[in-house]
Amino acid sequence: MDIREKISKWLDLLVVILWFFVFGIGVGIVFYSNDFSNFYFLKFKYLFLYLSLIFIFFSLVIRAKIFLPNLTIKRFFLILASFSFGIFWYLKSTTEISPSHLLAKENGKYKFIDTDISEETIVYGTIVSDPDIREDHTNIVIKPDIIIPEPEKYTIELDTTNVKVIIEKDFVLRVIDGDTFETKQGQKVRLLGINAPEVGQPKADKATEFLKKKLLNKEVELIIQEDYIFDIYDRVLAVVFVDEENINKLLLEQGLAEIYDDPNIRIIKKQKYGEKIKIKGNSGLIRAKVLPTIGNYYFEMNYGDYIKIISPLMLPKKATNPAGFDYRKYLNARGIYAVTKTLRNPQEIELQGLGNLNIFVKLSYILRKKLLLSIRKTVPYPQSAFLGGVTLGYRGGVPQKIREQFQATGVAHVLALSGLHTGFIAALLLIVCNIFKIKSLGRFISVSFSLSVFVTMTGASPATVRAALMFCLGLFMYDVLKLSLRNSSRITIIIAATIILFFSPQLLPDASFVLSFMAVWSLIYVSPLVEKILLYSNSKFIHQFLTFPLFSVISGMTVLSLFGGILQEVSIFRKFFPFFTYLPSLENLFPKWFNVETSQWLSKGEFFLLSLTFYFCGILIHYLYSLSGKMLVRDMIRYPLFRTLMKFVSAQVAIQIGMMWPLSSVYFYRFPISGFYANFLAIPIIGIIVQLGWIAGLVSLIFDFLSYLLGIKFVSTIGINITLLINAFNTQLCQMFLGMAKTWGNFVPYPYVEMFSSNSLILWFSSLLIIIWFDRIKHLVEIYKIKAVIFLSLIFCFGLYYFVFPQIKKNKNVEIIFFDVGFGNAVLVKTPNKNILIDTGSPGPSGWSSAESAVAPTLTKFGIKEIDALIITSVKPQCVGGVIYILSHFKTNKLYLPKNFLDCSTLTYYDFIEKQNLWYYITNPYLYEATSLFVENYKLSKYIKEFYGEIKIVSDKEEIVINELIDGKNFKLVILSSEKIVDTLDTIADNSLCVKIIYGNHSVLLPTQLGVKLQDKFVVHFSDVLKSNILLVPQNGHYNAYNEAFVKKVSAEIAVCQYGWTNQRIGYFNPSYVLATQQKYQSLNIKFLRTDFVGSVSFVLDGEKYIYTTGISEEEYKTRINID
């Protein structure tokens, strides 16, 4: 065999293996780095991926028979040229917006990270993106130029502008103290603007010594403010210079004096100072949230402004719970390494002038605003917010309710600019080129340039960059290299991935990047396979039971939703077809289905009943048609419309298999079932909306420009009227789209789904690759025979050993997770057979409550769909805040409530606080704590009326929830309670419950909200039960709830304090209160873990010993607080 052929065959084999690695293990590493900590290549994951991708690219090119049968040397170099072009395009389009380097100190140390604990930092830098203006704040991204971390010290500068001064020369005879001396002329001089320690105070001697050393027996220059010469002791006030050295300033900088604020002083300017760090070259960016947006000052913030911010810099918040959104990873992927928050106070943010302005970027942003203005003028709200989002990427202004509906419908991807939108823009550009007969190189250049403008304009999100890069590369290959479309798409996906990852490796785990690439990958690789099976197979069975029924379900449900709700939202339909308004809406026809609270679990019954009806209708129609001896699907795909529809169904199936099903659960913990149906309407409509939106905007721009050139204002008016015409129609489409989201959002559940583990992901994608490349693998086996079979078997065994067996091994441990829910309590107890949740954290706005952001994702991650017992230990908002969310999304068998829980669904606010005997709130009824207590209890009272599970109000002294044997050891979970207390300061706290967990030799005590008085009672009543290894600090660590007798009785080794900040600030108290408690626990040698510092705390108990892990490593925070 020729050596070339040999190389070629081996490369072919390696390509297959590398694809497996990249998509299997690569995906695994991305999501579960921790799971792979024992993997050797974890440290080299990026390097590994680069090499793999580059290798695949070159091997594809060299192994010509795979995709390029007619590869010549010339073409090979042309492909290399396309690679280089891609790099050039990427760098030119995105450097300004997403540099990918860490913020470094001049000497290369990342000291900047330490600023997380700083009080204040001064940052000078340029705004490098279009400010994102929201309803209550503005987000800006700053490229720092100078950073002054922790400027705690002050300095003074002499400033004699506009102030008359007297300059005298004199000789120092005697130094009296640190800030006063006597001169030869007999006058006593006091240093102006500073204050040195008095005799007897610390550093007083040092200051005097310093002054003696500097001034004694020396000639000095005194600068005296003409209108402020003497102080009340008749001492001359002066700024003193010796050898051009400002002594006042020197004393201050040496820390031997303090600033002395005096309004009469005008020749001294006070300044903060610290160690200046000049940032050279590319650096990490800083995201600043400017609050609030009211006031013209902040509206003037623009791209390219050079600003100064004085505010603490912080690291972006890391995911601190076992599952949840990792803001730090998200921002790091966008080149942002620090965040800060400033107020509109001009002392915190100040415009300094102009920064490094890229005229191309600036012009793009002005054009973007111009286009948005045309939308503001021609599209009414809220359709304007929708159109502004989908065409220009303006993310503010879309009402929260609409956002939620979009998420639940699985069409949220249309709200954020994605590859799909870029594709529509690219298609529009091609059409425009076609109309103006621009072809080949001209078309390639004009489309690439326009896409570059589009990407810059819309903020260069990973998805748009990926899509635009792929499109430009594809066009380069098609128009310049004259390759076929199919070949170019297969090659461009690899080139684009390689280029983006090479320059921005931190994008690798980013949802936007991964989902975007996997969607395209599914379309290129999985879609043909699905088409082959669904449309072109000869099996009558598949056509009868799969293809046509699937088409029937999708089209049936689409038509149903169209007439049931979507068209009712379109105003022109209401105008011309008023009967639509009178049609009974689905919500009225099937009220139960549309009950928002219960619709989440429709998947178990009603929703599928409808789908099933359409499915069987499909089978029936196909059967009846086949009686005539014809094949329905075959006949249908002869017609272009049906062929397009069927291909669209196949593409949707492919995306579900290759991207949505495995990855939606990983990133969002939920799966939008309706996405499959809704996209059937959503994608074509959004295509038209985006293209018409841009055409309308461009018409307005062109006429504006003409008006400017000709100097006739009327021309601009004509333009805006044409825009109005186009947008009037587009508004109807937007209404239809919003109606669709609303209808589907209510119609179909958006359930939490069990997350794919890293092992399952690898198996999923490996299996998919085996199916996709079945022919190729078969061919390879034929060539290499035994060798290949052994090799593949080894890979298979390796896979089983590493990924499958560990999952099968049954876990016999008990896991207790103390969530980081800010200011609130939530603890999950997970045994091999049971799941118990104790409290649900604090309430919050939709999407941000503790239950939604921390508890539910974690339950999903652990595959928990059913909660055996939900124990609410107190009716305080920080315990019941998320209970409704949990009950409505997870099947809960038993709900335990404290004895003072009051059904207040029919009570007024005053009745409630009176019945609860909250006399303090009766006298102070407007306290936020009191109203939120009522609101949360009212909601819960109403909700549990329809609760399907068992409700138990705990009144017994000891309520045993679980008592069973696990692995031969006793596991017991018991609720401790005392008799009802009515006459105390805090009746809510003094009637709360306490949970005790015992497993083998170890135990955990959770007195979540126990007041001091109740703790005293517990010490007496449960003296033999209290002793535990782990203790939850009562009342979120408030020092008022510290009871030494109780803590000593428990004599725990570790105390966990669930404390932190929440948006709602219900019951929130100052951190110093917790610090006081912490010191008391530490004085008793109890390890104190605060969730606001270490994140969630997970204990694993095996009955004989226990270990714990924290959400954030203790090391990361050891500089912040001395936990030990």
């Binding site: 203006i133 309803e135 509206f299 623009n302 390219g304 102009l354 302005l357 005229i359 600036k362 012009l363 002005i366 605003k369 111009k370 948005l372 203005l373 503001r376 003028k377 021609t378 599209v379 009414p380 709200y381 304007s384 917010a385 502004g388 303006y394 503010g396 202004g397 298609a427 529009l428 091609l430 059409i431 076609n434 109309i435 105003s571 022109i572 105008k575 011309f576 038209i688 293209q691 018409l692 055409i695 805006i720 009227n721 044409i722 109005l724 015409l725 186009i726 947008n727 009037a728 129609f729 587009n730 508004t731 109807q732």
Partner: protein, 62 residues
Amino acid sequence: MDSATKIFIFLLIISIIFGTVVILTHPEYRVKNIYQTNKNYYPQINDENLNKEFKKLFERKK
């Protein structure tokens, strides 16, 4: 002219016809009224501010 271009031009014509119908039948569908509904949606993006910004851009260039 390929089919995509034809469809697009057809769509554009349809949109203008339907747009005209909408404007004729909805008297509230006028620039002034619409602008009013958007008063809280990016209020800072208006003719005056944009002109200022545009002028500033060229001033900066000088």
